[in-house]
């Protein structure tokens, strides 16, 4: 089990966003807010951050390719090393924030939690929080990193809303939602947000229900022609576990690099419990969850967030896994 928060594990918030979006402002809010948590911070852009905290550690952003036959599986070697040291002083902090540079791909950070045994045992990934500069995001739309930071997010702060019009905001929010339907989007000024919206979110907890906005499923066409987008599949009926396994294996082998995140709740044929799973690129984690309730409709829900995904093909392949 990778991400079910266990007793004695330290929750981790991954903070992403372009330079100037308001990450540091948010970080300082987290550090100074009276939430009673002692927060350790790992930053990449040391010196740019005016943070007064004893446990601010400077990281080098070292990307290690993993040799597991997976072309997009990379982890952050610096995090494994630094967190290993940091955990020796775990009585000094009870929450960890990892800040990534504006130009960093968030995937290696998240994948590190799936791959490294020590991090799995000692930490639980709470949420990926992305701060978006409502005024300047347009300058970065074409950058892969900007799109991926939105695609990987569990919580998005649409910041600096005072600098743009309501119409622009609505347009931007729609655009963001089409890219990532799983994320909660909050509009903020000066990164002002309730702490419970960004800390203790448990977004990577497999036992937390998948929340697909029903409105999203009703929308037929999205105005924005993004390469990055979300696809939600909902099917009644029971799934043949073997067929599903074969399909997902093949899918991740061939399209892993383009699938950023996926989540699902499945009704496996012959099983009384819901099967819940999630993935980041080709890394996959799944387990039985609570039993289906008698009054509950047994259905299958899957969400994919990725680049150049073929909705029709995914839906068809998924349907072919039904019993």
């Amino acid at each position: 089990m990778v991400n079910t928060p266990m007793l004695n594990t330290v929750p981790v918030t991954v903070l992403t966003g372009y330079l100037g979006a308001g990450k540091t402002t948010l970080l300082n809010r987290i550090l100074t807010y009276e939430h009673g948590k002692k927060v350790a911070v790992i930053v990449n852009e040391f010196g740019e951050v005016g943070i007064d905290n004893q446990l601010v550690i400077d990281a080098d952003e070292e990307i290690f390719e993993m040799n597991n036959g997976c072309i997009c599986c990379t982890v952050r070697g610096d995090l494994i090393r630094i967190i290993g040291n940091l955990m020796r002083r775990r009585d000094k902090f009870d929450h960890l924030v990892i800040e990534t540079t504006g130009l960093a791909d968030p995937a290696p950070v998240i994948q590190t939690f799936f791959v490294d045994d020590e991090m799995q045992e000692q930490l639980n990934l709470d949420a990926v929080v992305t701060v978006v500069d409502a005024k300047h995001i347009h300058d970065h739309w074409d950058a892969d990193e900007a799109q991926e930071q939105i695609a990987f997010a569990d919580v998005i702060l649409l910041n600096k809303t005072d600098l743009v019009s309501e119409a622009e905001l609505e347009d931007l929010e729609a655009r963001i939602r089409s890219m990532n339907i799983m994320a909660k989007v909050y509009r903020t000024q000066n990164a002002a947000i309730e702490m419970q919206q960004i800390l203790g979110v448990n977004a990577f907890d497999l036992n937390r229900a998948l929340e697909v906005d029903p409105k999203f499923l009703e929308e037929d066409a999205h105005e924005h022609d993004e390469t990055v987008g979300s696809i939600a599949l909902v099917e009644a009926g029971a799934i043949d576990g073997e067929k599903l396994n074969a399909w997902l294996s093949e899918l991740l082998q061939t399209q892993g690099p383009n699938i950023f995140r996926m989540k699902g709740i499945l009704n496996l044929d012959g099983e009384e419990e819901r099967f819940v799973f999630q993935g980041v690129h080709m890394l996959f984690d799944g387990s039985p969850d609570r039993p289906w309730k008698p009054e509950e409709e047994r259905k299958n829900e899957l969400v994919f967030i990725g680049r150049d995904l073929d909705a029709m093909q995914l839906a068809e392949a998924f349907r072919s896994c039904l019993v």
Partner: protein, 359 residues
């Protein structure tokens, strides 16, 4: 020699550091132990029960590594602050060097086996410092990542540094020469030369162990580990084809026995007893007795690296480090809650008890 019937270990001294015990090092005579913690304190403990000497008080910055020079003259320490500290040991130890390196943690220090030269990992560089002349001997670029481990060849002719994509080995006669590259498709997180200098082993992030024999570019590759390979130890003494190699991954230890034919590789033997991560393994000098320390709060002694002959405890929160003194007559361990313990071989004529298994 193989001390087949050694007396068991008995607790000699114990004490308490403020936080997680991070590092320990014995003097070459084996009569004094240096220990350090995550709170930053550094303490010298005489084996004979004499008073402890505090070299550095806790300052909240972790000390992560300690190393004592081959002649016992110098003690080097480094950690979170990035400062290299060197004391000249003696009646009253004296701090003789204090070198600041900003924005880097000092996690790896290694003294040359015959000279008072200290190799240290500084981010993605390796620097060699001459403690007597107080000057830099050379600065080497590892490049592909931070240096994740460092070790001199036992003869002092080469220096190896491991990290992402493998191990680089520099020739000490000519530092400017390109290093020899021992490539692996992952990150090497721990490396160890066998005491005869014949083999170089690398424990890796991708759950493999790779061993090179001197002069042979084609290594043996062992796989099937449950997680990354975190610890390695070679036996000084051996009866078969080659020294024994012990490796640990999560709570398991595998001891590798080389087969007669190179093609037949190394035979694994799994040592199962610990039920939490193994934090340190070390062979007793001159024997095949293996000691393993675990986060489950036990130190286990394995006769011939295969059979449990003694279990030690004393760190309820788990053990974090372990080291034999050079003569193998004393064993020291540190705990995650700052406990430190030293056991010595008793004077009894009795061998290790074999009836210690508790159901």
């Amino acid at each position: 020699m193989s001390r087949l019937n050694q007396p068991p270990l008995e607790q000699e001294r114990r004490g308490q550091l403020q936080e997680y015990g991070t590092a320990l090092a014995w003097t070459p005579e084996g009569n004094e132990l240096a220990i350090a913690s995550a709170a930053g304190e550094i303490v010298l403990i005489p084996l004979d029960g004499g008073p402890q000497q505090v070299l550095q008080e806790a300052d909240g910055q972790s000390i992560d590594v300690l190393a004592i020079s081959h002649d016992g003259q110098f003690l080097a320490a480094g950690g979170q602050a990035g400062t290299l500290l060197i004391w000249r040991l003696g009646e009253s130890p004296e701090l003789i060097s204090r070198l600041d390196n900003s924005r880097t943690w000092l996690e790896h220090l290694a003294w040359h086996p015959q000279r008072n030269e200290l190799a240290m990992g500084l981010g993605s560089y390796v620097q060699v410092w001459d403690a007597e002349a107080a000057e830099v001997v050379t600065t080497l670029m590892f490049e592909s990542s931070s240096v994740l481990d460092l070790a001199w060849h036992p003869e002092g002719t080469q220096l190896a540094a491991g990290g992402h994509q493998g191990i680089k080995v520099w020739n000490c006669q000519d530092w400017d020469d390109d290093p020899q590259l021992y490539e692996i498709p992952a990150a090497s997180i721990c490396l160890a030369w066998s005491n005869n200098g014949e083999y170089l082993a690398s424990g890796n992030m991708d759950r493999t162990l790779v061993v090179w024999a001197q002069g042979n570019p084609y290594p043996w590759r062992m796989q099937g580990f449950p997680a990354k390979v975190r610890q390695l130890a070679w036996s000084e003494f051996w009866l078969g084809e080659a020294p024994l190699l012990a490796s640990s991954s999560r709570e398991g230890i595998v001891v590798w026995h080389k087969q007669q034919q190179d093609d037949a590789g190394w035979n694994p033997q799994l040592l199962e007893l610990h039920n939490a991560r193994v934090s340190a393994i070390a062979f007793q000098p001159q024997t095949q007795l293996l000691a393993s320390a675990s986060e489950d709060g036990s130190v286990c002694l394995w006769q011939n690296a295969e059979e449990v002959v003694q279990l030690l405890d004393g760190a309820a929160a788990g053990f974090s480090a372990l080291a034999w003194n050079p003569s193998g007559t004393a064993l020291a361990a540190l705990g995650e809650a700052g406990d430190w313990l030293i056991w010595k071989q008793g004077r009894g004529k009795r061998g290790f008890l074999n009836d210690i298994f508790r159901n």
